[in-house]
């Protein structure tokens, strides 16, 4: 099975090499989509052995994931793993993430920070932002997941072919989950560990996600 990791990267020159090195034992190919970084993310990722492509202009994480997923499909990937460039996800979680797809029991696997493995989340994220995100997902999309904002996911080829990511920004997370459910994909949540180096998405970012989802719905 050809397992391809897609990493959207923006100004990640400091961490990208470490991430690629850690991923190598677990995947067949690593695709880095440099979203028009101002540092030398592109050169470092290329030197580290990843298939690296570069957006001409910065379009956001969702857009980079869309480009990377398209490329992965074009390179005959059987399983596509979305992974972050900031070294917060653990590469050793990948075998558990792809196992349900390999044994045919799932089409899409979503990493969850709130199952058995313990991630050290900032308190405000754990007790305010995430419960709000869960509530929004339940109210607007009827989706009940333990972690509605995880960027660590594995998709079967079939699932990735049906998926069209339209949100360029951070709203892609909610959009992807919503579309996986809409496409009747068999979805499994798998526990993952996330090591936080920085806070990441803030509450204001959450409101921007909601705004982006509404605008996306209207321009359809």
């Amino acid at each position: 099975m050809k397992i391809v990791t897609v990493i959207p990267a923006y100004n990640e020159a400091v961490k990208i090499e470490k991430v690629i090195t850690k991923l190598k034992p677990y995947v067949t190919e690593i695709i880095v989509v440099d979203d028009a970084s101002q540092d030398n993310t592109f050169e470092i990722a290329q030197a580290a052995g990843a298939l690296t492509i570069r957006h001409i202009i910065n379009r956001g994480q969702g857009a980079a994931l869309r480009t990377g997923t398209q490329l992965a499909l074009g390179r005959d990937a059987d399983i596509i793993v979305h992974f972050d460039a900031d070294d917060q996800f653990q590469a050793e979680d990948i075998p558990e993430m792809i196992a349900p797809i390999c044994d045919g029991s799932a089409d899409a696997v979503l990493g969850s920070r709130f199952l058995t493995k313990k991630s050290k989340l900032p308190k405000s994220k754990e007790y305010i932002i995430m419960p709000l995100a869960r509530l929004v997902n339940r109210l607007f999309f009827g989706i009940k997941l333990s972690d509605p904002q995880s960027g660590f996911r594995a998709l079967s080829r079939k699932s990735a072919e049906k998926l069209t990511i339209e949100n360029d920004g951070m709203a892609h997370c909610t959009e992807i989950i919503h579309k996986l459910f809409k496409n009747n994909d068999r979805i499994v949540e798998v526990p993952i560990t996330v090591v936080y180096h920085e806070f990441g998405q803030k509450l204001s970012g959450g409101f921007k996600i909601i705004k982006d989802i509404i605008i996306q719905k209207l321009i359809k």
Binding site: H55, I57, R66, I215, I219, K220
Partner: protein, 106 residues
């Protein structure tokens, strides 16, 4: 009465234009619906201007027909900004698609 008639003519003009745009597929179904609701609401407001005057007065405003028209104009401006936001979003989407095509073509 003349003001009301003039406003109805203007709204009718925009409604016809809206249906033309929909027919030519220049706007999406959702956008069409938003504008349809907006212009129909304006039409209803103009037709029932006197009742609105009473309602506005009951709410404690020194309301006249012209006040209501000003409120409507403000609403129209808000919707125009909203429409511009949607247009920008569409353009952003096109830019992203172009960006992706160029990236993958390399």
């Amino acid at each position: 009465m003349f003001q009301q008639l003039l406003a109805i003519i203007i709204i009718a003009f925009f409604l016809i234009r809206l249906f033309e745009q929909k027919k030519k597929k220049q706007i999406s179904a959702n956008e069409f619906l938003v504008w349809l609701i907006f212009w129909l609401s304006a039409l209803i407001a103009i037709i029932f201007l006197k009742q609105i005057d009473i309602l506005v007065a009951k709410l404690g405003f020194s309301g006249t027909g012209i006040n209501v028209l000003v409120y409507l104009a403000l609403l129209a401006l808000i919707f125009l900004v909203f429409r511009m936001r949607l247009t920008i979003a569409k353009m952003e989407k096109n830019i992203s698609e172009l960006n992706q095509a160029l990236t993958l073509k390399k």
